[in-house]
C-alpha cells in the first residue's frame, strides 16, 4: 500500500470519527471542536487533491470564521440545559441515516471511474486558474454571491438586534 493511500485511510478514519463526535457528543463546544477537526481534515484532502487554494480558503472561511462565529454564539447563549434524547426517535433516525449511507455508497461506486488524472497540470488549482474561471465563466454567480453576502449581513443585523 503506497504512502498516499495510507495517508488517505488515516485521514478518512479521523474524518469519520470526528464527524461522529460532532453528532454524538453531548457538549456543544466539544461538537464544535470536533467539527473544526473534521473541516481541517477535509482541507487537507483538498490540498492532496491539488486544490490548495480552496483548501486554504476552507481553513480561512470555515475553521477561521464560521466556526469561531459558532463558538462566539455558544458562549453568548451558553445553553446550560442538557438535551435528553428519545430512544424511538434516535433509532428511527439512525436507521434512516444508515439506509442513506447504504444507498449512497453503491450508488457512487457504480459510477464509472473518471478519466485521466493527468489532466491536472502544474497550475491546476492555483489561484490563477481559480481566478480565471471565477472572473470569466462565473462572473455573474460571483457577483450574485457578493450580493447574497451583503443581504446576509443586513439580515443578521436586523435579526440579532435587540428591539427597544
Amino acid at each position: 500500500m503506497d504512502p498516499s493511500t495510507l495517508i488517505f485511510f488515516v485521514l478518512a478514519t479521523l474524518l469519520v470519527v470526528s464527524s461522529l463526535m460532532v453528532v454524538f457528543l453531548r457538549n456543544v463546544v466539544h461538537c464544535a471542536m470536533a467539527l473544526v477537526a473534521a473541516l481541517l481534515i477535509i482541507a487537507i484532502y483538498f490540498v492532496t487533491l491539488q486544490a490548495p487554494m480552496v483548501g486554504v480558503l476552507q481553513v480561512l472561511v470555515y475553521a477561521g470564521a464560521i466556526m469561531v462565529l459558532f463558538l462566539f454564539v455558544i458562549m453568548l447563549l451558553n445553553p446550560m440545559t442538557p438535551e435528553q434524547p428519545r430512544r424511538a426517535w434516535w433509532t428511527l433516525g439512525t436507521l434512516l441515516a444508515l439506509l442513506l449511507a447504504g444507498g449512497l455508497v453503491p450508488m457512487l461506486t457504480k459510477s464509472e471511474p473518471a478519466g485521466d488524472p493527468l489532466a491536472a497540470t502544474e497550475l491546476f488549482g492555483s489561484p490563477e486558474m481559480l481566478a480565471k474561471s471565477l472572473f470569466s465563466d462565473f462572473v455573474l454567480p460571483f457577483e450574485i454571491a457578493s450580493v447574497l453576502l451583503l443581504v446576509a449581513i443586513v439580515g443578521a443585523v436586523v435579526l440579532a438586534k435587540r428591539e427597544h
Binding site: M33, V56, V59, G64, V68, L71, F72, M75, P127
Partner: protein, 376 residues
C-alpha cells in the same frame, strides 16, 4: 532524496529554534525595556554565582524554571481536555506561520540551490492568514474551558476582536499583493529588490530623479497599507493597547485567568511568537524582507554606477543578517508600544477596527487598482 529531506528539516529546525529563542529574548527585552522606560532596574534578582547578566538569567533561566515547576491547575468545574488543548492551539499557529516567510535568497552550496525559506507555497500569504485565523481558538477554547466568568468575557471579547482585525489585516495586504502580483512571499521579497525607477510608468518618469533611486519596498509603494497592517497586527497579538481579552484592570487576566505553570508559559511564548511572526511579515511585505538596498546576487550595484562585487556566501550572510535585524527592529517597536500608549476601551477597539481600518483598507485597494490600471 535524503539530502533534500535533511535540508528541509534543517531549515525547519533553524527557523523554529530562532523563533522560540527570539521569543525568549523578547521576554527579556520586554522586562528590561519596561524597567528602563519606567525608570527602574527590574529583573535583576536571580543570579548564578552573582552573575545576573542584566536580567538575562532571570528571564531566560529562572522564569522558565519557575513556570515549569509550578502546579498545573485545572478548575474543577472546567473542561480538562480543552483546558489542555487551548494553549497548544494558541502557540501552534504562531510558530508554523513563519514557515512561509523567506529569511534569505537562494544559497548555492555543493552545486545545490537552496531556497532560504522553509515551505515555498504558491499561496504563501493566504496560508499565513489561514493559520493566523486559527490562533483565535486558543483564546476562545481556553476561556470557555476554564469555566470562569472573567475568562469567558475575555474569550468573547478576544474572538470578536481577532475576527474583526483579521479582516482589516487581510484587506490591507491586498494592496501589496496587487502591486507585486503574487501571493508568494519569496517572490514578493525578490520583487522588492528592484528600484522604483524600474517600476515607474512612463507618465510618471519626471519623478525619476526624485525617487527613482529608492528600492521598490512596500513601504514606499503602499505606505497606508503598512500603517493599517501594523495596527491590525498589533491588535492581533492582543497586546496593549489592544489587550481587551486580557484586560488586567477589569478582567484580572482575561482568558488565561485560570492558567498557570507550563500552560501559561505556552500562552506567554505564543504571544511573543506572534510578535515575531508579525515582525517577519512586516519586514517581508513592506521592508524588502532580506533585501539589502542595491545588493544583488553578485554584490552591490549602486544607482550612481559604482559596483562592489562580493562572494556569494557574503551576500547570503548579509541578506540573512539584514532580515534578522529588520525583524528585531519591528519586535522592539511592538514591545516599545506597550509602554508608550494608553489602552483602548472595548467599543473604541471595535469602532477603530470596523469604522476606520476597514474603510481605509478598502480605499487603499481602490486607489491601488486605479494607479495600477493607469500605469498600464
Amino acid at each position: 532524496m535524503i539530502v533534500d529531506f535533511a535540508i528541509i528539516a534543517t531549515k525547519a529546525f533553524l527557523v523554529l529554534f530562532m523563533v522560540l529563542n527570539l521569543a525568549g529574548v523578547l521576554g527579556w527585552i520586554e522586562r528590561k525595556g519596561s524597567a528602563l522606560i519606567q525608570d527602574r532596574i527590574g529583573a535583576n534578582r536571580a543570579s548564578i554565582f552573582g552573575f545576573a547578566g542584566m536580567g538575562l538569567v532571570n528571564t531566560l533561566i529562572a522564569d522558565p524554571l519557575k513556570f515549569l515547576t509550578k502546579e498545573d491547575f485545572v478548575p474543577p468545574s472546567g473542561d480538562k481536555f480543552l483546558h489542555t488543548l487551548a494553549p497548544c492551539m494558541a502557540l501552534f499557529p504562531a510558530l508554523v506561520t513563519f514557515a512561509v516567510i523567506p529569511f534569505g535568497d537562494v544559497l548555492n552550496i555543493g552545486g545545490r540551490e537552496i531556497n532560504l525559506q522553509v515551505a515555498n507555497l504558491n499561496i504563501g500569504i493566504l496560508y499565513v492568514f489561514a493559520i493566523g485565523s486559527l490562533g483565535v481558538y486558543g483564546i476562545v477554547i481556553g476561556a470557555w474551558a476554564s469555566n470562569n466568568k472573567f475568562s469567558l468575557l475575555g474569550g468573547v471579547r478576544g474572538s470578536a476582536q481577532m475576527i474583526s482585525y483579521e479582516i482589516a489585516m487581510g484587506l490591507s495586504v491586498i494592496g501589496v499583493l496587487m502591486v507585486y502580483g503574487t501571493l508568494e512571499l519569496q517572490d514578493i521579497a525578490r520583487d522588492q529588490g528592484l528600484l522604483i525607477r524600474e517600476m515607474l510608468p512612463g507618465w510618471l518618469s519626471f519623478l525619476q530623479p526624485v525617487i527613482g533611486w529608492l528600492p521598490a519596498w512596500g513601504i514606499f509603494l503602499q505606505p497606508l497599507a503598512f500603517l493599517l497592517f501594523f495596527t491590525a497586527a498589533v491588535a492581533e497579538t492582543k497586546r496593549i493597547p489592544f489587550d481587551l481579552p486580557e484586560g488586567e484592570s477589569e478582567l484580572v487576566a482575561g482568558y488565561h485567568v485560570e492558567y498557570s505553570g507550563g500552560k501559561f508559559l505556552m500562552f506567554f511564548a505564543g504571544e511573543f511568537a506572534e510578535i515575531v511572526t508579525a515582525a517577519g511579515l512586516m519586514t517581508t511585505l513592506f521592508f524588502g524582507g532580506w533585501q539589502v538596498p542595491y545588493l544583488v546576487r553578485d554584490g552591490f550595484h549602486f544607482p550612481w554606477g559604482t559596483t562592489w562585487l562580493l562572494p556569494h556566501l557574503a551576500v547570503v550572510f548579509l541578506q540573512v543578517a539584514t532580515f534578522s535585524a529588520k525583524v528585531l527592529f519591528f519586535c522592539w517597536l511592538q514591545i516599545l508600544l506597550r509602554w508608550s500608549v494608553p489602552r483602548f476601551r472595548y467599543d473604541q477597539v471595535m469602532r477603530l477596527g470596523w469604522k476606520m481600518l476597514l474603510p481605509l483598507a478598502l480605499f487603499n485597494v481602490a486607489i491601488t487598482a486605479v494607479v495600477i490600471v493607469a500605469a498600464q
